[in-house]
Symmetry: C2
Subunit: 125 residues, 2 copies
DNA sequence: GTTACTGTACTACAAATATTAATACAGTTA
DNA sequence: TAACTGTATTAATATTTGTAGTACAGTAAC
């Protein structure tokens, strides 16, 4: 399916997340298409299934896939459907604005605080 | 000058950065005003000078102060003057963009990932 | 020059956190 | 039941982070 650099400083679960994101964003994997099972992919890549699981969990929390116990993990339709270009645009805008904010001295902590405000959730340190 | 919570989970150098930022933003410290030397403040707070140094370095990299070897550290004039309105504007833009992103189904987790990407600058192995 | 201040760089070490793995649990389908 | 699926818990490592100890280097006053 793809290759990993096992001795990179970048953790393999993170490499996995990136590669899979690419496949989803670039339509190589279609809506609701089943991803390899954690064990299958693990065996194929000669790593621990739990590492795959971590990558999948991350992808799920970011809205790229959904997982069903006993069934499998699948490409999340919403992510792909309507506003793909719009989504890409917003992601780029976010990155630009982050850079600008940080250039002005706004800390990532403050940015996260703003995010929480919008989200409505409440948290503390 | 101020108090620190030595047994907080938040590192003391970070607490220092926040407190000092407050003093600068709220005009308690004026442009080009000298901050306490790293050793002086360290002794006063009963912590290691290097911890102060780390806070100062952070403040400098964020544009709040500037340091001159052998002379001291001082409040950076630029930070205070022009950027105040700009800062408010960027904060508003961030909130708007967050709302839009979440409306499109981008999760807060993904936003934080994007933030980390920008924050880290490009780093690989 | 010497002295007494300044910031800075380098190293080290303990604590916290992150990464991966081993194992066991639980749902689905035939 | 058997053979798949994802998930939770725990533990062993590896890596990062926070702080400190020490030495180096510039500035200013004498």
């Amino acid at each position: 399916m793809f290759e990993l650099d096992i001795r990179s400083r970048k953790p393999i679960y993170e490499q996995l997340v990136e590669k899979l994101k690419q496949l989803i964003i670039n339509d190589v994997m279609k809506e609701d298409e089943k991803l390899p099972s954690v064990r299958e992919l693990a065996q194929q890549l000669t790593i621990n299934p739990n590492t795959i699981q971590k990558a999948y969990r991350e992808l799920e929390s970011q809205g790229y896939i959904y997982s069903l116990k006993g069934k499998g993990s699948f490409v999340h339709p919403v992510t792909k459907s309507q506003n793909k270009e719009e989504l890409t645009k917003v992601r780029e805008e976010l990155k630009k604005l982050f850079a600008e904010a940080m250039y002005l001295g706004i800390t990532t902590e403050e940015i996260q605080t703003l995010l929480r405000e919008v989200e409505g959730g409440e948290q503390d340190d």
